[in-house]
């Protein structure tokens, strides 16, 4: 808790960043991420896009302790964090979601969120109130007592976002939150994602295939192809970049 609150304090000053510096990840000769640089700042929404197999999830894995980079470093503030475990990242304000919701299926929706809060040091009562606030915001308050295992796939991912946002992390990395959602659900997801920086003061990294979602909520975009950075800039700049057009058309 002391760690979490100190990080919290430094996050509030706006100085803390989550940085990938020259990060490479290799799997038995295959280079999944190739010397990528990126810095996530508090309060911004950064889109991470690219064709299938571009290394987006692998980069997020490296930036959250799930994957040890073969080269380069991951820094939280000025602390070198590559090589540390996922729970170190979570305790120090770096949270993420998964493509598959990975909820605790036997437990009610609210407890799925409370878990994250109590293990960060909140009391049971405060954790419950906190979870209910998050569910209210997501429009899932009426599902609080439903066992997570019976939720529709799309709700599962929304609960995953609430769980990641428990105890206000400094950074949250969302892995395809809108996949498989209808247009209406996508609109709702865009509202949710775009409200995160203002409501929680954290920086958001968003992996998403749905271009309408990406272009609608991101201030800047980083494009990967075969593990390399091929473009970065505002949505307009990236959309007009010939390298991006080639990567997408070339692969599809």
């Amino acid at each position: 808790m002391t760690n979490a609150s100190t990080e919290k304090a430094s996050g509030a000053t706006g100085g803390l960043t989550l940085e990938a510096r020259q990060v490479s990840v290799r799997f038995e000769g295959l280079t999944a991420v190739d010397t990528v640089d990126e810095t996530l700042h508090p309060g911004e929404i950064l889109g991470l896009i690219g064709p299938n197999g571009a290394g987006k999830t692998t980069l997020v894995n490296a930036m959250t302790g799930f994957q040890m980079p073969a080269d380069g470093q991951v820094l939280l503030g000025d602390k070198v964090a590559s090589g540390l475990k996922p729970h170190w990242f979570r305790r120090h304000g770096v949270a993420r979601t998964f493509q598959a919701g990975r909820l605790f299926r036997d437990m009610p929706v609210s407890e799925n969120i409370e878990i994250a809060a109590v293990s960060m040091g909140l009391s049971r009562r405060k954790a419950h109130a906190h979870a209910m606030e998050l569910l209210e915001w997501l429009g899932l308050a009426d599902r609080a007592e439903t066992p997570a295992g019976v939720l529709p796939y799309t709700d599962e991912r929304r609960v995953g976002i609430a769980r990641a946002l428990a105890v206000r992390p400094d950074f949250v990395l969302l892995d395809e939150p809108a996949a498989g959602m209808s247009d209406l659900e996508c609109d709702e997801m865009m509202r949710v994602v775009s409200e995160i920086p203002g409501k929680f003061g954290c920086g958001v990294l968003l992996i998403e295939h749905n271009m309408r979602v990406i272009m609608g909520v991101c201030e800047r975009i980083h494009v990967l192809d075969s593990g390399r950075t091929i473009s970065r800039g505002t949505p307009d700049e990236v959309q007009k970049d010939p390298a991006v057009i080639k990567a997408y058309l070339g692969h599809d």
């Binding site: 729970h87 305790r91 299926r105 437990m107 878990i115 994250a116 293990s119 960060m120 009391s123 049971r124």
Partner: protein, 333 residues
Amino acid sequence: MRDLLNNKNFRWALAAVIVVVGIIVAVTDPVRFQILITSLSEGSFYALAALGIGLLFGVLRLVNFAYGDWVMLGGYALIVPSAAVTSTLLIGSFFPALVVICIVGFTIIIALLSEATVFRPLRNTTPPTMMIASFALGYVLQNLIIMIYGGRPKSAGIFPELLQSIDLAEGVSVPLLKIVTIGVTAILLILLTLFLHRTSVGVQMRAAAEDFRMARMLGVRANLVIAMAFVISGSLASFVSLLYVSQLGIMTFRMGTPIIVFAFIATVIGGMGSLVGSVVGGMVVGVSSVVLKNILPDSIRGFSDAFVFAIVIAILLARPQGLVPAKSASERV
């Protein structure tokens, strides 16, 4: 019919009907009423033992065969460590509340020491490795007792007042211990349920039992949750120990073996990793064992355990996943 049996609500309703009919049939006759109390007491005993195993399996995927030997150590702690033929009560001679506190404390220490020395270093190995290690730990503990106390059975008469019979109704007279066993189990079950649902560590423990890696990623403290699982498992072992010694008044270094065998079977037929399953499994094993001992013809009564195991096999053939399986265990495949 199959559809109906697959319906969860129908199964619970069926179980409730069987239990209610059983109780009505039992209370109409003094002898049957006596059998009911005895079988519930036996069922409670195995439910407690099975919970101690089921809890550690749930959190750690550890099948802890040394559990029976924690029960055994809890018993031996009652008497003065010596190889003398006649044993002298040590902790067992304190007044009852203090006896309970000391034995609970003692077994918790044994459980935590087992964790620190054997299971923690093996935490990242496979479940079979941990299970074999638990066998080894069990034998070490048994031989430790032989070294200190000798191999002879030891007597330890504690709580003699529990063996007095009390009259529940006209012609129904059971030892007080049976009622105490049922009561202690009920209280411990309620306390455990409250702990798991109302406390912060309890919620973390349930999450860890469902998906340990995910729980860790969310910041659940693995050491805290695991230590707490050992504390609870150890204290359950101490109650099993006290109830066992109060009943039989005698201990051997092998006394843990039959307890662990029946308790382990109970967790398997209940559904590995499911705490409700452990309790249900313990009840099935205990109740069927007592009922069979009473209804089988004299000529085959001595083989009642064989019939208990036949029931176990029948249950496993019909429901290999156990009676009340943990959802996470079946769905994670």
